[in-house]
Amino acid sequence: MSITVRFFASLREELGINQKSVHHTCALTIEDVWRDIARRPPPKNLLCAVNHEYAGFGQRLEDGDEVAFFPPVNGG
């Protein structure tokens, strides 16, 4: 299955990754994707989303999902 992974703001700059596609044959969680790409423990305040909805780190992914990782938001 194929997953699009995106990073934003300070996290994007630290990892030097804007967007990446990952392909796996087995079932994946958000945590798996993070470990696979970031190769470091997740920051304490890390937020993540799947298909534009906030999601927990343990959520399982499906083919075609867009996963995003980002620091705390700060709009308004």
Binding site: F8, S10, H52, P71, N74, G75, G76
Partner: protein
């Protein structure tokens, strides 16, 4: 109802005024309008700020704002609302966000406007990077994410 993320500077009071000419918002039907405008200050955390980059997650931001708006419309029985948010390069004194709510009654208009602002701050996927004389810094939850890098060049 207007929900928009805009790259260009806007005049919030002209937006509200223009919106009230919308025939969907029947004259005489609403008794109360509450509006909030957040503006970029030239000073934050003890430092002068020259500019700000407002990054957002296109697609998710709009989706989250639409959910926030729908919740507030129902909960506070709003007749109409505006959520207009800047993105891109912001200068001091530029409006960053406008939220306006129309309702039959004062409490609903105020309550809706405040709640939208609270949710917007906690859920809408925006991030701010300030440009200081000494470099740039990310602002996270009202505090800088890390110390500014040394001046470049």
């Amino acid at each position: 109802m207007l929900i928009e993320i805009r790259k260009q500077a806007f005049d919030p009071w002209r937006e509200v005024s223009y919106h009230e000419k919308n025939p969907q918002l029947h004259p005489g039907s609403y008794g109360a309008c509450a509006a909030f405008v957040g503006t970029m200050r030239d000073f934050n955390l003890g430092e002068n700020v020259q500019a700000m980059q407002l990054e957002h997650y296109a697609g998710m931001t709009e989706h989250q704002l639409a959910k926030i708006a729908d919740q507030a419309l129902i909960k506070h029985r709003l007749l109409d609302l505006i959520i207009l948010h800047r993105a891109g390069t912001i200068r001091p004194n530029d409006p960053i966000v406008l939220v306006a709510t129309w309702s039959a009654h004062r409490d609903a208009a105020f309550g809706g406007c405040q709640e939208i602002m609270e949710y917007l701050k906690s859920k809408a996927t925006f991030w701010k990077k300030e440009t200081l004389a000494s470099g740039q810094r990310w602002v996270e939850q009202g505090t800088p994410g890390r110390p500014p890098p040394r001046r470049q060049g």
